[in-house]
């Protein structure tokens, strides 16, 4: 019996791999399990290869897992394209389509001999029982139900619900294909028992969604009433969710003619007094940078979601990376601070997005949510969220006294000025990208410019003091440390658990606020640290460099950084920690030598 199973499936586009993964996760969630699913495609519409990874567990899951427990290959050639994303180990059961055969030199796979390799005539079974090869994915689900004990009832319930709209014959055909898969599994038992532990307490209702939908839902919850954007993978679902739902709440969506118009419309909506948002990915973020500068100097609230993918330029458009930190924090001319926040999972995309709106509104500033392809596209089961715990902040409006002699950019103690909007009597002013005096009137004065720069940067000082934007786990005095954000944080949370089970004294910092750098929070965290790793999916180690730019890091703090697409594995991080510990012990031994 297993408490946790990681499935990896790959095939050609059209094989229904992703929809099989969806059904599996939905069924597991209906039975009360926790789970997460990530998808990976080549960047084509149809054809080509597609894969998914589904992790199902009796306990909450922090990331999509490491090596596969179960690999399903509908096509070897396609499966091998995902070698690093779907790593096979000596503990993996490999199930493959018998018809495609296995080239002899590919088992063992990349030097690894799997626990068991089972050829199944999947296409043949689909044809025989459902009358069409299109039911291959249903056969696979039957195999999984038979061997691993997940979803025997719930899978078919879900499939039936989906197909009932089409025809009852289709439901019956799929039921036969599913049963055939189950029967095959019974007739060919696995070498080891890999059934999942049945749940006694199903844990009640769960939510099942991905990061993009969660982000859009959170924005609507936070009061966002305008979305302007342009389609770009992997952010587009955010706009799609808005077009489905925001009208109901008096909002509007504009699919603009380009990225610039998308953010421009959002800037306009914010000027008009509404909470506004745009979403994009790397190349779109580059195009939006001039408007972000405008929103900064005009002190207009605005939320920009950047769902990171591999870059630069078109890069790896369907795969994840963490390489837009420099662009998010710095892509503007002039001296400007732009808050950057990052969620670490689908679940906390809700909180992070609300936080982004609150910060944008309170500080009257553009805020970037740095999501990544993995969080944006992965599905997670999550427990219902108590929405009453969230406070929603709106921008500071001028009162009657302010409107007597209204100064839009009035210098105040906390550098936040009351902001009016068209329609408000007494509040007319000129907003502009030009440097301005307190009233908004344009100026060329160097001294005013210096004062206004001061206002626009100092206003963020309190933001840097907020401890709740950092998650610190582990022994506060631990000599070993990990720092990670975004989807990599989930891997590090699991690595932390593994490391502590192996007796390593290690702590973890997960920043939700990436920029401005909260120097003192990091200093406090690093005080006890002798060795540590900043783990990130960036070839240039952008996070490590941004930290080093703002504060003195402990000598033993190293960067564990590499390009994206291939996820970090928890075990890999733990191995690096063991290595650091060994170095630390050697240096301590050195110090123990008599000094006098």
């Amino acid at each position: 019996m297993r408490k946790d199973l990681v499935f990896g499936m790959a095939g050609s586009g059209g094989d229904g791999i992703v929809s099989a993964g969806d059904s599996l996760l939905q069924a597991a969630s209906a039975e009360g399990y926790h789970g997460v699913m990530t998808k990976s495609f080549g960047s084509q519409i149809r054809g080509g290869e597609s894969s998914c990874r589904v992790r199902i567990s009796t306990d909450p899951v922090l990331n999509p897992g490491g090596n596969l427990d179960v690999a399903v290959a509908l096509n070897w050639e396609d499966f091998l394209k995902f070698g690093a994303e779907l790593p096979v180990a000596g503990t993996t059961v490999v199930i493959y389509e018998a018809a495609t055969g296995v080239p002899e030199n590919q088992i063992p796979l990349v030097g690894v001999t799997p626990l068991q390799v089972i050829a199944v005539p999947i296409a043949e079974m689909a044809k025989a029982h459902a009358g069409t090869e299109r039911a291959k994915n249903t056969v696979v689900l039957g195999l999984i139900a038979g061997w691993f004990g997940i979803g025997a009832v719930a899978v078919m319930k879900g499939i039936s619900k989906k197909l009932a709209k089409k025809s009852q014959e289709l439901v019956d055909a799929n039921q036969k294909a599913f049963d055939a898969g189950m029967a095959f599994a019974k007739e060919h038992p696995l070498k080891a028992d890999m059934t999942i532990v049945p749940l006694e307490n199903k844990g009640g209702v769960k939510l099942l969604t991905d990061g993009n939908d969660m982000c859009a839902a959170a924005a609507i919850f936070a009061g966002c009433q305008f979305f302007g954007g342009y389609p770009i993978t992997p952010s587009t679902e955010i706009m799609q969710f808005f077009t489905n739902h925001v009208w109901k709440y008096g909002g509007a969506v504009l699919q603009a003619e380009d990225e610039i118009a998308g953010i421009g419309a959002a800037v306009g909506a914010s000027f008009a007094g509404k909470k506004a948002m745009t979403a994009t990915s790397g190349p779109g973020l580059s195009l939006k940078s001039e408007m972000m500068g405008l929103a900064s100097i005009a002190e207009l609230p605005l939320v920009i979601v950047d769902v990171q993918r591999g870059g630069p330029s078109t890069g790896l458009p369907t795969k994840t990376e963490q390489s837009d930190l420099f662009a998010a924090a710095f892509s503007a001319h002039g001296d400007v601070i732009r808050p950057v926040l990052a969620p670490t999972s689908v679940a906390d995309t809700f909180r992070t997005t609300i936080e982004a709106f609150n910060i944008a509104e309170y500080y009257q500033t553009p805020v970037i949510i740095l999501s990544d392809q993995e969080i944006a596209s992965r599905k997670e089961t999550l427990d219902p969220i108590d929405t009453s715990q969230f406070k929603i902040i709106d921008r500071l409006k001028p009162t009657g006294a302010d409107l007597q002699d209204y100064k839009r950019f009035k210098q105040t103690e906390n550098h936040i000025s009351p902001i009016s909007h068209p329609g408000m009597l007494g509040g007319t002013y000129l907003a502009s990208g030009i440097e301005h005096v307190e009233s908004g009137a344009p100026t060329n004065s160097g001294s005013v410019h210096a004062r206004m720069n001061d206002k626009r940067t100092k206003k963020f000082d309190p933001l840097k003091e907020r401890k709740d934007l950092f998650e610190i786990t582990g022994n506060p005095d631990a000599p070993l440390a990990l720092v990670a954000w975004g989807s990599v944080a989930g891997v590090c949370r699991e690595a932390l658990q593994m490391a502590r089970e192996q007796g390593l004294d290690v702590k973890l910092m997960v920043p939700y606020l990436l920029y401005p750098v909260a120097e003192q929070t990091y200093r406090d965290f690093f005080a006890s640290v002798q060795k540590g790793l900043v783990v990130e999916q960036s070839h240039l180690a952008q996070t490590f460099k941004v930290l080093r730019m703002h504060l003195d890091l402990p000598k033993g703090l190293q960067s564990l950084a590499r390009s994206g697409a291939n996820p970090f594995l928890p075990g890999e991080i733990v191995a690096a920690l063991h290595h650091l510990l060994a170095e630390l012990q050697r240096s301590h031994e050195g110090k123990l030598q008599p000094q006098e």
Partner: protein
């Protein structure tokens, strides 16, 4: 509609042109055509009578784009070429506002040229005033998209090799519901045209030949404009005839035809109006936004 907004009715007489004049002193060169344009705008706004706080006046970058600063209203002097995207965001966020956009020929037809087509096909109720001087003034005299072929400027010292954009044909071809041209030589006529453009329910475009006294050619100076001016009325033009308007628009660059080229006799629905309809329709029986996470429960 916000509590401080007056109903959308005209109250002529409540406001005078001077009520729309701001305290800022224009930085335009003495004799610039834009001085007259801003006067025309004050007069048109006074005739319409919307209070300044219900007006949003948006511009891009350039000499003419300074104009919201000289007008008492909510103003936004944005970034080069992007007045229209920002203006449409404002209109969609609050369709009750009177939204004006303004800029120069470079701002509107070079860097911002890609946006006009889309504002027109969406038919957003915005009035767009272009002060067309056929030159880049603020950057000191470079070739503009409406400069005539062969023109010598500091970036075309041997004469321009490019054909100019014809702003009138451009917007007519994209299907704008209201297209007009005015001249600062006729302040009264210009104010009337701007007023009519603002009253038109949908995207309205007014091209104004606004002479640049510093880098302009003689033909575009006040005297030159007077010489080539003729009103569309005097030509017996029927402004409901779009094809006739396109024919006359071919005169751009040789004749200065003043008046309304085209006014759609049956104005199409506006995007902002349709947005309101959709909001009203979809909000009925909508769950509270506190329940938005229920969408993620798989039953």
């Amino acid at each position: 509609m916000s509590a401080t907004m007056t109903p959308n009715v005209n109250t002529p007489g409540d406001f005078q042109a001077k009520d729309y004049k701001s305290d800022l002193k224009p930085i335009w060169c003495p004799g610039c055509g834009d001085y007259s344009v801003v006067q025309g705008i004050y007069r048109a706004l006074a005739a319409i009578g919307r209070p300044p706080h219900e007006i949003a006046f948006i511009s891009g970058i350039g000499c003419s784009s300074r104009i919201p600063g000289y007008t008492t209203a909510y103003g936004f002097n944005t970034v080069h070429g992007r007045a229209l995207p920002i203006a449409q965001g404002i209109k969609l966020a609050n369709p009750d506002l009177l939204v004006l956009a303004a800029g120069g020929d470079g701002d509107g037809f070079s860097i911002g040229g890609g946006h006009i087509a889309h504002l027109i096909r969406r038919n957003i109720d915005i009035t767009y005033i272009v002060m067309d001087n056929q030159i880049y003034g603020l950057t000191k005299g470079q070739l503009s998209p409406t400069s005539q072929k062969g023109r010598t400027t500091c970036t075309s010292p041997h004469g321009s090799l490019e054909n100019p954009v014809n702003p009138l044909l451009y917007v007519l071809a994209y299907g704008a519901g209201f297209v007009a041209q005015a001249s600062p030589t006729d302040l009264v006529g210009m104010a009337a045209i701007i007023e009519e453009a603002i009253r038109y329910p949908g995207f309205a475009f007014v091209n104004i030949q606004s002479p640049c006294v510093t880098y302009g050619e003689e033909a575009q100076q006040i005297k030159g404009l007077k010489a080539i001016s003729e009103t569309l009325e005097s030509l017996g033009h029927d402004p409901s005839d779009r094809l006739a308007a396109m024919n006359l628009a071919q005169n751009y660059g040789t004749k200065l035809n003043l008046g309304v080229f085209y006014r759609n006799p049956e104005p199409a629905p506006t995007y902002d109006g349709l947005v309101r309809e959709r909001q009203a329709q979809l909000s009925q029986g909508a769950p509270s936004k506190e329940r938005i996470l229920d969408l993620f429960i798989k039953k």
